[in-house]
Amino acid sequence: MAARKPSERSKSATEPVDLDIVPYMDIVFSLVAFILFTSTGLAQIGVVNVNAPRYQDPLDPGLSKPEDQENKKQLNLTVGVTYRGLFIAGVGGVLGQVDAETPEGAAEPKGPTIPLLTTDAVCRDALAKNQPPPMSCYDTDRLTREMVKIKNEFPQETKIIIYAQPDVPYEVLVQVMDATRDFEGRALFYDVVLSPEIA
């Protein structure tokens, strides 16, 4: 091969070189597609904090300080999710219940603090059959209003105990936690403790 003149060499060096970017494009496109499909999509996953019930060890009295408990008034706010509606209770008793007695002297069965919404036929049907009603049957707006009232009385309290009947769906529980956690940016009762079920 004959050697090029220096003038020709400089010309050949300026020739444009086409970079083959197709393999790179293939890799990038595959990666983008893979990440998009394997990620959870547009749904944003969050968490709700829940604590297990704390049991006091009777053999270790050092942990409990009765005098502290006396100084600090415990509300023990409890919300019960039943097939009939929502019960709200504290140390003083269940909210919205009056010890009404029948003329015969026997106590009437006490109803929930917030009964189910019976505007829907499905809710009425579930109530009649004593079955777990769908989520829309629970009046969570009223629950939030009640929580705001209680929070006004006990501003330092953050703890809430939630219990439910065995077949109450998990989504109802989450909805109740949402209704009691905050209202318009104001923290209500966010320290949730789940209690074992009621029969």
Partner: protein, 202 residues
């Protein structure tokens, strides 16, 4: 091409207009409409902007992918409930309760039928028991492993055993099953629960 071939459909051939001939059958006209081969250059599509765009998208996705401390992957038969929570997931043991199985991570520990765990998985084969034996065994194993790792990483706070478990449960799971799982997790020293939910749009 043979001039005797039938004309293409929809294009009647005028008299004197054979293939390769202009409307007037004039050779000069034919030369005029033919593209000049000498001046033709193939058009190169400039792929660089698209490549740059894809690279930026890839970087953003990889950043999202890596910064998420925990990838929650609900199985197709697990539909999470919606919640107004603002908290984000943390690194924790994943406990999945679908309407068919209970999983610890990706390991199946018990079967679920009609929202109940069979008595064979319960303590003493007692249907009323809250204690799910294979779930406890698996969680205990995971807890022991986490404690061992924590023992060798005493200075790293994030590696200490906190007893944290993320519950990824189907929204139809009944409260009874949920409490059984939480009770068993509590026995295996997991006392802090985080319920995975889908955040509601603001």
């Amino acid at each position: 091409m043979n001039a005797q071939q039938p004309p293409a459909a929809g294009r009647p051939v005028q008299p004197g207009q054979g293939p390769g001939q202009g409307p007037a059958g004039n050779g000069e006209e034919r030369e005029r409409i033919r593209p000049k081969r000498e001046g033709y250059h193939p058009i190169h599509l400039n792929m660089l902007p698209m490549m740059a765009l894809f690279t930026v998208v890839l970087c953003a996705l990889l950043k999202d992918y890596s910064s998420d401390p925990m990838q929650i992957q609900p199985s197709p038969d697990t539909r999470l409930p919606h919640s107004s929570t603002k908290l984000s997931p943390q690194k924790a043991v994943q406990l999945i309760i679908s309407d068919r199985v209970i999983l610890v991570g990706s390991r199946k520990v018990a079967e679920v039928k009609n929202g109940r765990v069979s008595a064979v998985y319960k303590k003493d084969n007692n249907k009323a028991s809250m204690f799910i034996v294979p779930l406890y065994d698996e969680l205990k194993k995971v807890a022991d492993r986490e404690k061992l790792i924590a023992r060798y990483n005493k200075k790293k706070r994030e590696m200490q055993f906190k007893g944290l478990v993320t519950i990824i449960a189907d929204k139809r799971v009944p409260f009874r099953l949920l409490t059984e799982v939480l009770y068993t997790a509590g026995q295996a020293e997991y006392g802090q629960y985080k319920f995975a939910v889908i955040k509601k749009e603001e």
